[in-house]
């Protein structure tokens, strides 16, 4: 009987131990979760840890901005996680925002997604208008992240004023001018003229090369210079009926049909190889593209590129920093976000990383004015892009811009290079986009 009692007691003890272990494990998990989510736990030595969720090459760390901030604020410890592609980053961000968990203290948002974030998630994000100085930023950039009620949920990082990058050696071989002013004049004000230059290039340029790199690049360039493209001011989807979009599509398709454009999809390995092998003479080129070209080129291409103004200025790319309310250090995070995007820091970022400032005050800084790129030799890239930035129209952006843009390029114009008619390509794109938009 005693033995039985003992076993019973032992069982109770064992059960209790198991239970407490289990509870401990669960609690441990919960604890960890909280740490990761809020990023709010104090880091080593009682520091406030601020975490950033970024995609692509934001370049804050590479240009030493974190170190500088940590030096200014010794109690702050900054950490970042970077996802390579926005397509992988954004769905997770939306998921985290809707469940209010798993968020970093600062989350980056791409311009193609900012309208959706502002429209659907602004109640989860901190109003940053108290932290950032509105007058520092380009007005349209500030407005893009501002809700109808006047809450600014994101501060702008870079923008993508677009110009045309071209190979001076290939232009010369095709008997075209190489001076950037003259090249700009060839097509000033009209994309049709650029396509005409392409025809000249095709007639005389080196065999095996094309004038432009990809249909996607050209379409993006034309469309991003329009005030209204996929949505009208009231928020209605108008891409199908908007003549600006259809004209851009048709012009691109025509150029593709005439063989002026390489049959590539941008940012794919094969496209990278066409950069490395100098297979095309020109491409639409926001500032960050120079970094990309540099990364993919062979050393002998250095200095052979130059930049001319595009027929019409447009904006391609650029991001925002947002601060989710669920973080525990929202105050500190907001200060950091505002500091990272202030003119002085944006100027530095351009000098190192080529992300063009969204703060006009930075355009007169020495960092921007004296900026050079290995690929473009002595070209004053800062001044050229600043000029383009001034002419960017204030654009109506919509929540699903990215899906529409991607449909037009990846399910549309690219097909023309594969032998489809422009009409079929347009129909394929429209069908895909409409299916994707239909709730």
């Amino acid at each position: 009987m005693r033995a039985r009692t003992r076993t019973a007691r032992r069982r109770v003890v064992v059960l209790a131990a198991v239970a407490s272990l289990g509870a401990g494990l669960l609690a441990g998990c919960a604890d960890d979760g909280k740490k990761d989510e809020g990023g709010s736990s104090s880091g080593g030595g009682g520091k406030t840890k601020i975490t950033l969720g970024l995609f692509g090459t934001a370049g804050f760390e590479e240009s030493g901005l974190y170190k500088e901030y940590e030096k200014l604020h010794p109690d702050v410890d900054i950490q970042q996680t970077v996802v390579e592609r926005n397509e992988n980053y954004y769905p997770a961000l939306i998921n985290h925002l809707t469940t209010n968990s798993g968020l970093q203290d600062i989350q980056m948002v791409e311009v193609g997604n900012i309208a959706e974030i502002v429209g659907t998630q602004s109640d989860k994000l901190l109003d940053l208008s108290k932290y950032g100085k509105k007058s520092d930023y380009l007005e349209w950039k500030w407005e893009q992240a501002t809700t109808k009620d006047g809450a600014t949920v994101g501060v702008g990082t870079d923008i993508g004023p677009m110009a045309i990058c071209y190979r001076t050696d290939l232009f010369k071989a095709a008997g075209l001018p190489t001076d950037r002013e003259e090249v700009g004049k060839l097509w000033a004000g009209d994309w049709n003229k650029l396509v005409d230059v392409g025809k000249q290039y095709k007639a005389k340029g080196p065999k095996g090369t094309t004038f432009l790199d990809s249909p996607g690049g050209l379409l993006q360039a034309i469309v991003s210079g329009e005030k209204e493209r996929f949505y009208d001011a009231s928020g209605k989807v108008i891409y199908k009926s908007n003549p600006a979009v259809k004209d851009a599509f048709d012009l691109t398709a025509q150029a593709a049909e005439d063989g002026l454009i390489g049959n590539q999809t941008q940012f794919q390995p094969a496209w990278d190889t066409t950069i490395a092998n100098s297979k095309f003479a020109a491409m639409s080129c926001p500032p960050w593209m120079l970094g990309y070209i540099k990364g993919k080129s062979k050393p002998d291409a250095a200095g052979k590129w130059d930049i001319a103004q595009a027929p019409k200025s447009g904006n391609w790319g650029g991001s925002f920093l947002t601060v989710p309310k669920s973080g525990k250090n929202t105050e500190e995070a907001a200060k950091l976000a505002a500091w990272l995007t202030a003119p002085a820091q944006q100027a530095k970022l351009f000098g190192v990383q080529g992300s063009f400032p969204s703060t006009p005050a930075a355009y007169d800084s020495t960092e921007v004015k004296s900026a050079k790129n290995d690929m473009t030799g002595d070209a004053p890239i800062g001044t050229i892009f600043a000029e383009a930035a001034k002419n960017i129209p204030v654009q109506t952006i919509g929540p699903k811009d990215q899906i529409i843009q991607q449909g037009l390029t990846d399910n549309g114009v690219i097909l023309v290079t594969q032998g489809k008619s422009a009409k079929d390509a347009w129909e394929n794109a429209v069908k895909t986009i409409d299916n994707n938009l239909d709730q």
Partner: protein
């Protein structure tokens, strides 16, 4: 609850039955303790097994059944990823529109064709390889491990390498074809070429796995069957046809079922085969599978309701496939 109480209450009377032999001073402290312990013991015996198996059922409830039912619920609504709690009842609209959703049927067709052109050659090759490996070979362990190496590789790594091999302009396969005078094939954009390329990733990855399963089954076939067949004058090929194949029938059925399920869930290979188009499976959706379409609707386009309806439709299709498999296997068993 009540039954638990009754049975727990019963033992004391039973033990109490022995009690009158004792001095009638009422239950002593010791007895009461015994009774209590005994009750506990009974309860323990009755409920502990449930506690031990409960982790599986709890996990299944949380990560299996609940998502399944919730997906069904969500499929009857219009609901977006940007506001998952904001649900709009639409009844069976998400299902009815699947009937004239060209993209769904295109994906279903692709899943079927890719499934066939990957599964059939895969299993045939696996059978052949297993047959070869079943002979006495030098370094047979090495070959067997080598068989399994592709299976151990991650889908992502394998797919990315295949994308480079299948590149249109600079890929090695087109280079090799050029050497024998065949023009560049646009592996990503041509419908059949792209499906064959995707299938080749699947075949590369799973052939060794299936070969090892066949090999294991072959080694279980008694040697004397072969010997007597040889005595009867059957050559190797006849032995294979009349001894090996019949003995492998259940194994073949197993691999067919598993491969069919695997093929209907095909996702990673086509997703990574053209990374820029991602879930749309090529410019013209030429290799978009059902798995990809589901993912595209849910995570790229953020239409959770539509994605849920697709998921349930896929589930139903899989059940149908399962029933067909079951019927065929019963027929086969009955005929043997």
């Amino acid at each position: 609850m009540t039954t638990g109480h009754e049975t727990a209450a019963a033992p004391p009377t039973k033990e109490g039955g022995a009690a009158p032999a004792r001095p009638p001073a009422g239950p002593s402290d010791d007895e009461r303790r015994r009774a209590r312990l005994s009750r506990r013991w009974q309860r323990d015996m009755r409920w502990s097994p449930y506690a031990f198996v409960s982790p599986f059922f709890l996990l299944f409830l949380a990560f299996g059944l609940f998502p399944l039912i919730y997906t069904g619920w969500a499929s009857l609504h219009q609901v977006e990823l940007t506001a998952p709690t904001d649900m709009n009842w639409v009844g069976f609209r998400n299902y009815t529109r699947i009937f004239d959703d060209d993209f769904f049927w295109n994906a279903a067709k692709n899943t079927l064709t890719i499934g066939i052109i990957s599964t059939v050659p895969q299993l045939l090759m696996a059978m052949g390889l297993a047959h070869i490996l079943n002979y006495k070979l030098r370094a047979s362990t090495f070959y067997r491990v080598a068989m399994l190496a592709p299976y151990a590789t991650s889908i992502a790594a394998a797919s990315l390498v295949f994308v480079l091999l299948f590149g249109r302009d600079y890929g090695m396969i087109n280079w090799a074809l050029n050497q024998v005078g065949i023009d560049n094939i646009d592996w990503q954009n041509d419908k059949w070429a792209s499906q064959i390329a995707v299938s080749s990733i699947v075949i590369w990855r799973w052939t060794g796995y299936n070969a090892l399963i066949y090999l294991a089954a072959m080694q279980a076939i008694p040697q004397d069957l072969y010997e007597s067949a040889a005595l009867d004058g059957a050559n190797r090929w006849r032995q294979f046809l009349h001894v090996t194949l019949p003995a492998l029938r259940p194994t073949i059925l197993f691999t067919v079922v598993v491969s069919t399920i695997g093929a209907s869930q095909l996702f990673g290979e086509p997703l990574l085969f053209d990374a820029s188009k991602g879930a749309s499976g090529g410019s013209q959706h030429q290799f978009q599978t059902l798995g990809l379409y589901l993912y595209e609707q849910g995570w790229v386009n953020q239409h959770l309701g539509r994605a849920s309806a697709i998921a349930w439709t896929m589930f139903l299709i899989l059940i149908v496939i399962g029933i067909v498999n079951y019927v065929i296997s019963r027929r086969l068993r009955a005929s043997s």
